[in-house]
Point group: D3
């Protein structure tokens, strides 16, 4: 039962897929499942709005259908978990979303979690999902980095803002652990964790780790 965990980046930016692939490296084990990261060519460059989220479901589900024969499990690597429940109807293989798994991992690392969003407008969408998960009482707060696309290219600036936001979540909102609310921020995890002094969850890693277990155990979902 070793098959392949297929990690789908639902945006079309291959640099993001490459970053996800690097983030998966520690989870590759000799006789463990292969971990393969693919890009959804039909996706937008970035998923920012609810419309973006909804628009990728059709091609995403189609891709899952195409890849199903050679996959043992799927991970949807976008923090809005686009198409998660549609994907679960599409395949009998386990499908995990990085928001869901990132938050579940955080629940084992602190009593209340904070979320670092990229955009302020994503916060109500994330709160709807957290409500659907029944986890509102564990949420300390969510705050946005609030940088635009140009600024996000500036790594030093981005890191500074992420650290600042992590500290606000810890000090003003009382977060005991942090979830990075984006699939493309893995490179900053260690430095944000060091600076904030509380655990920080990189959600794709959390999801892939869970998917490996699911593959090995062969539980039908």
């Amino acid at each position: 039962m070793s098959g392949t965990v297929l990690v789908i980046n639902p945006n079309s930016t291959v640099a993001v897929t490459a970053g996800i692939d690097r983030a998966c490296e520690p989870l590759r084990m000799a006789s463990g499942p292969r971990i393969e990261c693919v890009t959804l060519a039909e996706g937008p460059p970035g998923i920012q709005t609810q419309r973006d989220v909804d628009a990728v479901v059709a091609p995403l589900v189609r891709l899952i259908g195409e890849l199903d024969a050679r996959a043992a499990a799927f991970v949807i690597a976008c923090f809005s978990d686009p198409g998660l429940h549609s994907a679960r109807e599409t395949t009998g293989k386990p499908v995990l979303g990085i928001m869901e798994c990132g938050i579940l991992a955080a629940l084992t690392l602190g009593q209340r979690f904070g979320v670092i969003a990229i955009l302020p407008a994503s916060i109500p969408r994330h709160r709807r999902a957290i409500g659907a998960m029944g986890l509102a009482d564990r949420l300390a707060g969510e705050r946005a980095v609030g940088l635009n696309v140009v600024e996000l290219v500036d790594e030093a600036k981005t890191l500074d803002r992420m650290i600042a936001v992590a500290r606000e979540l810890r000090d003003r909102d009382g977060a005991d652990a942090i979830v990075m609310g984006c699939a493309g921020m893995a490179q900053y995890r260690d430095r944000v964790a060091d600076a904030a002094g509380i655990p920080v969850v990189e959600p794709t890693q959390a999801a892939v780790a869970m998917a490996i277990g699911r593959v090995r155990l062969g539980w039908s979902s």
Copy 2:
């Protein structure tokens, strides 16, 4: 400020749209907003799965864009509220979903509400939405009619099952009010309400009523 409330049936079955149109009749007032019911031609015959829900968002949002100039408000007439938040990003006009409005109306009619679903498989999807609405504590329970498409054509049988389910929601789950969990059941409302002896909400009517107010008041959303 009288414009038009555009009620979109996201499935392609025009008989359902015709039923919705009849259900809107009492809400048509001389100087009030026009109420126009349209069918989403690209929709499936019925929306039953999460995949169906997600698949209609793209054409639904496109239709809203096309109709935007002549609409004062939109109602999405499917109990899964497909594309509700995408639609709200698409237009500055009010957009209301019938699940959301049906449940909100029920909250004014009893302390705990029950939902009559068509299919058992819809219940987890509805519970996710009710969780996202923060309303889990007001939900008494949800039960499915559990008839297949052929059986649903038999009106007497369908009515009997709806009444039976309404009474179970009242007696076993403690519901004080009932929400019909489907856009195509308006014709049964009065008889189910009479038989169950507790208020029954027809959700499209609830949503259109709310939309009329929104149009008259001109609140930007």
Copy 3:
């Protein structure tokens, strides 16, 4: 089914009733229900305490009994929803409270709502009601204008404070929509909404809009 929506101002200040009446103007439609606003002569000049709330129930219920024959629905136009459930026992006609309906409307306009109270002492009372509604998870926060009666006469000052409070609810508490926690503030709605940049619900308008639908649909409650 066109009857009359009777909007009862449970305080005895006729200027407030006049303001409510003006706020209802957009909801008057040619063949729609008449909307008539009446003052509860026995009410106090303003309803500020729980004692005020409880004290108006007896005369309010008596008035509803007297007016029942010529009413199709009732709206209780005080943000504490005094006597709401007693009124529902008194008449078979729909009875709607402005707090309940104002908050329900806000749920369609944002994921979390904030409330602008007049007095700090009202906040625990409102929180009890929001808890009874099962909506604690949707409440971002409530803050008081905190002006005394003399200061409230100063419209510019009142507007300034309402705007400041709305912005605090948005920025510190994370409100996506605002509910005005008083029946007498309709005149400020548009300006507060413009200044805050998020939707603002005038609760009497929300309740009357819902009452119109209820009258047209003829649902027994």
Copy 4:
């Protein structure tokens, strides 16, 4: 700091007050507060509806005002806690309601509590109060004895029904402890507890016990 705990029966049935008085007997201690039970002459024979609840607030608050000088604390001995918050505005002395205290006591006796109501129609009212207390997750369920006034006179029948209801709360709803949802049932407590085999709270006793502590400690509320 020994003063008097004034227990007010807000219905006018002196036999009920006498029963309450007997129930208080074990809580009378030599140097402890006096416990005096009084009848609200203006109350109805029994408090059954929300209108009954609201109607007693005015005379109840008046009585509290009259008795304030010789009271150290008040207990409102009706399970709907009529006028609880108005009373707290009326006097600086502690005011406790038997619903509130009965439920709080039950929280120390089991993880989830069940409530034995007299009438089915009281259940939504009680659920509103439990929601306002933020305790919905601790409620296993509420069930009504469902006997009419004539039947309630038959003690054997009443006891049988209370025991049957207590067992349903335990077995069907999963209650670990029971709260008697009425001030007039103290005589049955021991027998219901024996028959159900789980703790049963008599709410007036729970409230008076708490009031004694409040009097001795002199905490201002």
Copy 5:
């Protein structure tokens, strides 16, 4: 039924037991239960961590077993309620925890309560307990005094910090009442309450008061 309420200080610091004993003084009544405060010799000097909490359960339960014959009820006088549920398995006598009872008392004194913790690291532990009690919606916030052992000896400094924290809970978090999150702070209660202007609960007093009622009523738990 007058027996003895045994109040066990699970830390080994006899000065703390002496303070608890003084705090119980107002609750001693001529024919009421004796109140006897004992020190758990095997406890640590102070209970600060989860390990401390868990480590005292074994000797605490043993002590309860030894004292059972001469006790009518037990109070565990540490704000982490160590061993509360183990103790309830050990004896048929009522066992009350000061965290549980302190919070329950606060629920009768305000809509939302704040907690003054000694150490920041205790806050997640307290939140877990508040979650287990189903009371997250009533919690306004918890803040720590944050003084070390040496600083806590300085009474003026400690009082200043407690007052500052109480005011932050009131003003920033919206607390209507305060619970002192430690068994050893009774001496400060009156002054903190005066300075904050809202009710302050000393939790051991709250628990002993409840225990007296339980003893007098003879309810089996």
Copy 6:
């Protein structure tokens, strides 16, 4: 980063440890962490009461201290998660509890989960933990197998009861997924899942899978 996941069975029954070891087999991967299962010699033969839970914390924490140097992560393999938070204070390595991880895994497999307990008396304890996790809204229900030690030896009888309970959780309580509430039931998982037709989580497997990810990622907790 491959180290060893140490799975501690806190009861002293080595046959249970052997069963856990077999359950871990699918999670052993060539270059992945070693998985070693150890028995807490000082534990009782089975952990059934809160006293049992609390009593194993001291030896469990001591064992964790002793094994810390050669462990990369710990799993506490008892469904009451004994000493989970004490263990997290004891070591900087990840510590996971099987209740926590079993429930978190179930959240990815269905909207509401049911728990199969061995003993009825464990249910309130589990509900306290689920409350502390903030997950009450996701719990469909918990039901006990209710067999005694002698009966549990009879595998056919045990399997029959587990299947019956799983079906009750699905049909009466509405569970979409099941969590086995005991570390010693792994052998029945596949057959219960087949018979119930919904996903069934074996909690030790869920926890070990998560621990593997934690080890590979090297997140400090």
